[in-house]
Amino acid sequence: MTREKVNYIFGKIRHFLFGLHYSDGFLFKAIIYLLLISIGFVYVYPILHMVSYSFQSLEDLLNPAINYLPSSLYFGNYQEAFKSLNYFKTLGTTLLVTLVPAIIQTIVASLVGYGFARFEFKGKKIWMALLIATYIIPPQVTMIPKYIMFNDMGLLNNVFSVILPATLGQGLYSAIFVLIFYQFYKMIPKVLDEAAQIDGASRPFIYLRVAVPLSMPSFITSFLFSFVWYWNETYLSTIFMDSGKYDTLQIKLLKFVSAYQEANPGGDIRMINEGMRLAATLLIILPMLLMYFVLQRWFIEGIDNAGITGE
């Protein structure tokens, strides 16, 4: 073999491994995929772990030889979890205290965002600053006076303790949703409004007939995030709705031991095992997982399109 040929082959190999400028070589790509896949595994691992343990019977859980693959598919944990969570009834309650405020919060955020984006008025900057401040103030600071207020108004242990703040634009992370709509409505050209105004359309009419149809993507994104965040919220609901009447799935999981006793009067709480708890956890995240698989592009592209990153 001549020297040139050797050089040629080495050059080929080098090109294959490192490419023209590092980032298109095989080695680089291989490292990237390796990193992405191993980190991806860290994300999926807890879910796989949950699935695997939730199908293991007590014998399997105690058997040190069985780690991840159960000896047989065991549904007992799910039966117990179903019973303890009182699944379908609790699911109904959960939807009532998460879905309803999420829908209301989204509609209100759209109105407020529109007001901020489309009109010039005195004091707008100050109100905007206060809006952003409400995102930063921890809910714990305002929670105690609210508790006393709701107590006086008879709103404790009442759905309206969640619905009222959502209706007044002070729900969970309301400021973010107002900002999402604000960014979107800013982008609609003013000419559209002016044309409609010349045709005699009133401002509320323009909002309903021009702005709302255009902003459907913002509605969907805001609603989804709102719904997910309400679904996962437990701190405030344990304070404002403590009586047990409005226990959501999450709260039932938090109080799994007492939920189990309620479902099995006289039952021995030592019978609760990891498999059951993980089955319950899976049952709780399942509705969100299903929704995510169907609608994931709205979640992720929603952040992209919200324009939050543009400023």
Binding site: Y33, I39, P46, Y53, R118, Q140, L254, R277, Y292
Partner: protein, 293 residues
């Protein structure tokens, strides 16, 4: 009466945001001031007289800082958590976003996987993960690496490292939104700048420090604020738990004392947010690059 268009605009604007203004005054501003007032009082709800407040000056605050060891520990724990989590979450999510921004197949798939925790991580779910040992990779917990380190390193070093190793999954699980933010930011950087730099002989390493990082600065700020707010309001936070317990505890605790704790916590969070904003945005240098647009 004829209204000018400008006046009509103002009326319409205020009508649209009126519902929010009412809510803000009634459910944010008023409670904020009231809780400030409560924090200087002993507050009880009496069966007959309703709410009874007795002014006690700075007592609640003094008690919090001198006698409430539990709360001080919780604050310390919170500070350590922020100091460890915040840089890690920002760095990891930036690296992941950069990896995802390469010309690779399945970007959407990976992005969806990394975003997954945003959908499902609630306090109770994370509790279950941690208590069943799912929160750590079993390889790390089995190797005894953490115990080993705690025996051999000084506490101020071993504690953060122990947190990192034992809660790697939780840290990654809090990075979903940030990854998407960074990815969106990266895609807005003009590719031509990189090409020009490459022609001038810049290595990818130099390009990262001289182009990518400065362009991402607004996103870093945004992601940091999001991270701090999320961590500070996450329901598993011990300090928040103590505030809630204090509410229904007998005097000298109760509503007044808990309000004081909440205000201490609020000021601490604000201080962190302010500090982070100043460090990242460096307003005195006034060279914040215009992202996007």
């Amino acid at each position: 009466m004829k209204l000018t268009n400008k006046k009509r605009d103002a009326i319409a604007g205020y009508s649209f945001i009126s519902i929010w203004i009412v809510g803000f005054l009634f459910l944010s501003a008023f409670p904020l001031l009231t809780s400030f007032y409560y924090s200087f009082n002993e507050v009880i709800i009496d069966g007959q007289q309703g709410l009874v407040t007795t002014f006690t000056g700075f007592n609640n605050y003094v008690n919090a800082f001198t006698t409430d060891v539990e709360f001080l520990n919780a604050l310390r724990e919170y500070l350590v958590d922020i100091a460890v989590y915040l840089p890690l979450i920002i760095i990891i999510s930036m690296i992941l976003a950069i990896l995802l921004n390469q010309k690779i197949k399945g970007r959407g798939f990976f992005r969806s996987v990394y975003f997954l925790p945003v959908i499902i991580s609630s306090g109770p779910v994370i509790n279950e993960l941690l208590s069943s040992g799912t929160g750590t990779l079993s390889a790390i917990s089995r190797s005894g690496m953490v115990e080993n380190m705690q025996a051999n390193l000084p506490v101020f070093l071993s504690e953060p490292i122990a947190i990192i190793l034992s809660e790697m999954i939780v840290i990654l699980w809090f990075s979903g939104v940030q990854i998407v933010l960074f990815l969106a930011g990266l895609q807005k950087i003009n590719r031509e700048i990189y090409e020009a730099a490459e022609i001038d002989g810049a290595s990818p390493w130099e390009s990262f420090w001289k182009i990518t990082l400065p362009s991402l600065r607004p996103i870093i700020l945004l992601a940091s604020i999001y991270t701090i707010v999320t961590l500070s309001t996450f329901s598993n936070n011990t300090a928040l738990g103590i505030i809630r317990q204090g509410m229904f505890a007998p005097l000298p605790k109760g509503f007044g004392y808990s309000s004081a704790l909440a205000w201490v916590y609020f000021l601490l969070v604000s201080a962190i947010l302010g500090l982070v904003t100043v460090v990242i945005a460096k307003p005195w240098q006034n060279r914040l690059p215009k992202g996007g647009k």
